[in-house]
């Protein structure tokens, strides 16, 4: 097996009294997408900022391509690109000027930089907008120029901090496609996300982070297998009815329902068949649901399964 692209051991970071990172351990294989999944405030962004040399850790160590992020910070910076929420471009410069600025700051020879910038603008479909100030860009264009800026120096390791938060579905799919291409080209991508769907779609491995700790580190398929792949939520008219519905479903040996206020939740591998069973059982007792939803598990479900509390509570 090849050396991991990133190695993190016991990483700890405190801000005043808040412990943002509480002993993070990670090994991220080269040429893969690695997902950091967690709610706001879990420590995902802090991890990225330490790995990209913006923040110094209080304890523990981290290496990017064998270089220590504190002692060899300058060398690490030649190997990485950073984009997303915490790194942006100058809204008053045009797209091309922004890339040119980065090209100068990473010390690319002028002619090579110009070629690279043309290629990036082309690849990110920004040729037409290249000479307009970035402040006139749409949200999706803005995210693409951020991504392009992170790629000017062809970094072998790319950090993306919530690359699709706030994007419409079309732009999100575009960003996903570009991340896929980068990995095909041999880039190691570390991305943070609040969406299990995104981690599932892109990452070959996902670390779930909660209160500065890694609480799971698995391929997404295994993560979902631990959860069950489908969540069925049955809404009832009131809490007493919900309690009755819960008891009816619980008495069926194949089901293990959870009760929350006036909602009964079923998590399962076999959504369709189980849905039929559940509705039949309820119908038999003349219990009529008011709402019904069948959905893929969300970050919140992951949290509930792994920690017993909701994602929002973790952030509070």
């Amino acid at each position: 097996m090849t050396d991991p692209a990133i190695r993190v051991e016991g990483l700890t970071k405190r801000f005043d009294t808040v412990t943002a990172l509480d002993g993070i351990d990670l090994e991220i294989p080269a040429r893969t997408v690695f997902g950091l999944l967690g709610p706001n405030g879990a420590g995902k962004t802090t991890t990225i900022r330490v790995l990209s040399t913006i923040l110094k850790p209080d304890a523990g160590r981290a290496e990017v391509l064998g270089r220590d992020v504190v002692r060899q910070a300058k060398e690490v910076r030649t190997q990485i690109g950073l984009a997303g929420q915490s790194a942006t471009v100058d809204p008053n410069l045009t797209g091309r000027e922004n890339l040119r600025l980065i090209g100068r700051l990473v010390h690319l020879p002028r002619r090579e930089a110009a070629r690279r910038i043309d290629a990036l603008l082309d690849r990110f479909q920004l040729v037409a907008a290249a000479d307009r100030p970035v402040r006139t860009y749409s949200g999706g264009m803005r995210r693409r120029i951020d991504l392009a800026a992170a790629l000017v120096n062809r970094p072998p390791v790319l950090f993306l901090d919530e690359p699709t938060t706030g994007l419409d579905p079309y732009s999100r799919n575009e960003v996903w496609a570009m991340i896929g291409e980068l990995v095909d080209d041999g880039t190691t991508v570390v991305l943070t996300t609040q969406y299990l769907e995104e981690a599932d779609r892109l990452a070959s491995r996902v670390a779930v982070i909660d209160e500065g700790r890694v609480i799971a580190n698995d391929p997404p398929a295994q993560l979902k297998a631990r959860l069950g792949s489908t969540v069925i939520e049955i809404g009832l008219a009131d809490e007493p009815t919900a309690k009755r519905a819960h008891d009816v479903l619980a008495s069926t040996s194949t089901l293990s329902p959870e009760l929350e206020n006036s909602t009964v939740r079923l998590t399962t591998h076999e959504g369709a068949r189980l849905l039929v069973d559940a509705l039949r059982a309820l119908d038999g007792k003349a219990i009529v649901p008011t709402t019904l939803s069948v959905r893929e598990p969300s970050l919140d479900d992951v949290f509930l399964a792994l920690t017993g509390h909701h994602a929002e509570e973790a952030a509070a």
Binding site: E75, Q79, L101, L105
Partner: protein
């Protein structure tokens, strides 16, 4: 220059350290100058205000102010230059605070660039802007009847001194911008710092007309000695002492605030 491919090995920095610092600083300064071209409001803000002051003091208050032995407009204009340079430094605070807030500084901090370049580049861009504004103000001065009683060399020396002083003030306000990290608060915080320096000074009226308790401050503070130096250089009165005092202030301010701002930048998040 052989920067080669994007390093898979450590760049041998020693030999190239100076050129990198210089080229990174120029890149950041270039960005700042483009911003002033792209957002002309920033320039207009820092030019309209001093023009209003010239008109106000020349034609509204000026009649009531008598400075013995000098035409008031000749007294006023050097003070206006200094005021312009000092007010211009607020833009440094606002610009840096904006970059902190937007996350642009985070990007810079993740790049293999010289860290000092972010601040030196920004202050140099603001110096360029001040050159433009001061030249414009000199033009306005000539339009309202300002006369230089010495020669072109001394006029240039006076303007250079003002620009140098404005540059040192940029570092003061760079610190303010980095500490506050929010353009609105940076602008709000700048005025209370600025007002006593600009108004309790010899910029607009002679210090002798102020109350006794204020005079020691008003006479020796940096805006006053710089205004007095620029005034002496354009009126032809003895200038050396004021010029030296002003240069001492510039050196002192830079010695204190450059390290503070740089340390603050390293920590800024």
């Amino acid at each position: 220059m052989s920067t080669g491919q994007i390093a898979t090995t450590a760049p041998p920095a020693r030999r190239r350290l100076m050129p990198i610092v210089v080229s990174d600083t120029l890149a950041i300064a270039w960005r700042g100058v483009i911003t002033y071209r792209r957002v002309p409001q920033l320039l207009v803000f820092s030019t309209i205000q001093p023009v209003v002051f010239v008109v106000l003091f020349r034609y509204v208050f000026g009649g009531a102010i008598h400075v013995p032995g000098v035409d008031y407009v000749d007294y006023l204009m050097p003070g206006i230059f200094v005021q312009t340079a000092v007010f211009g430094a607020i833009a440094t605070a606002i610009g840096l605070a904006t970059d902190v807030q937007s996350g642009l500084l985070e990007r810079f901090r993740s790049l293999p660039m010289a860290r000092s370049a972010v601040l030196t580049g920004r202050t140099i861009a603001d110096l360029f802007r001040n050159v433009f504004v001061v030249i414009l103000m000199a033009g306005v001065g000539f339009l309202v009847g300002w006369t230089v009683h010495t020669n072109a060399a001394k006029l240039v020396a006076a303007l250079l001194l003002v620009l140098l002083f404005g540059y040192s003030m940029s570092w003061v306000f760079a610190t303010v911008g980095l500490v506050l990290g929010n353009p609105e608060s940076a602008q709000a915080a700048a005025f209370p710092v600025m007002a006593p320096l600009v108004f309790a000074s010899s910029a607009f009226v002679p210090v002798e007309t102020m109350p006794g308790w204020l005079q020691p401050f008003a006479e020796h503070q940096p805006v006053s000695v710089t205004a007095s130096a620029a005034r002496a250089l354009t009126l032809g009165t003895p200038a050396t002492s004021y010029v030296l005092q002003s240069l001492a202030w510039v050196a002192g301010i830079l010695l204190v605030f450059v390290p503070i701002a740089v340390r603050r930048y390293r920590r800024a998040v």
